[in-house]
Point group: C2
Chain length 182, copies 2
């Protein structure tokens, strides 16, 4: 296989999913409040918002949808996911408490996932996304992984851009600040 794609392997996905809370903790726990509340302007999200969003996903999305697929197949569409639930749920919470809650919720979900003892045949089972239509359990679990990484990209980008002015002429070399692809 080319070095630009990996096939879905459940044990590998679980390794990546288990790494995310530890990674976020290492990146964020020691940062000043002004850094974790920073964002990219307008309605964009801060690191604090993102951790709240990830908690909401653990509570209502990934494993819950896996159960819907296993129990109902395509007959029952998933509940729509509320991308803005964290703004109420995280309000006034410290980042430390959100990181703790995310780590506990993720660990619990990985225990539940393990208890399902999914086979390759299970991974091919189909469910119905309310907007995207038919999806497989394998696609759902791959998306759980990629969604984590997408938000790690976002958090790193938000933090980097806070120094857009402070880096001076080096701005031209920093792809995330200059906006260059690479």
């Amino acid at each position: 296989m080319a070095r630009t794609r990996r096939p879905f392997v459940l044990a590998e996905a679980v390794t990546l999913l288990a790494n995310t809370p530890v990674t976020l903790d290492a990146m964020l726990r020691t940062l000043p409040d002004d850094w974790v509340a920073a964002h990219e302007g307008g309605e964009t999200w801060s690191p604090h918002d993102v951790v709240g969003h990830l908690i909401h996903g653990e509570r209502t999305d990934w494993v819950q949808r896996a159960r819907v697929i296993l129990e109902h197949g395509e007959a029952v569409p998933f509940d729509p996911f509320d991308r803005f639930a964290q703004f109420a749920a995280s309000q006034g919470r410290t980042l430390a408490s959100l990181l703790d809650e995310f780590a506990a919720a993720r660990a619990q979900n990985l225990r539940e996932l393990a208890a399902l003892r999914l086979t390759d045949a299970d991974l091919d089972r189909r469910g119905r996304h309310p907007a995207l239509g038919v999806v497989t359990l394998r696609q759902l679990l791959a998306t759980w992984v990629a969604h984590d990484l997408d938000h790690l990209v976002q958090i790193s980008r938000v933090l980097a851009k806070l120094y857009s002015d402070e880096v001076g002429p080096w701005r031209a070399y920093l792809r995330i600040i200059s906006g260059a692809q690479g």
Copy 2:
């Protein structure tokens, strides 16, 4: 100050710099070799390449350039940085050994930085970049931080894109895979 910018504060920068080796360790140490050797095609870098690049920066770039500024000001330009040195230096090395070396080199550089006991006046001191011209010590140190974050973005993006096919229809919702801004 707006939530989209932060002024350079040395203690905050040191916190961010100290977090990077722990973050990379959490993200990468447990991943299968095929994941850390993966890249975005062509001459793009793998996570393994990036860690090697960060080590080379610790050895030859940031603190060394700070010393050039403090000792020579604008009179002596920095040595150019070799962006490809890691391909020879990292060849055949395990990711675990690179992560260990990066953590040790970063810790040593942060000890050396602390020993300089930089004042605000020191941060205003100027040096000469071989291509960018006059830069300040403050800009150099801010760039050290933003450069770490730029590469955390890159590593997360490389990993996410490995599941571009596995996520199926969810591809449309994952900004890093779809290429959408957000």
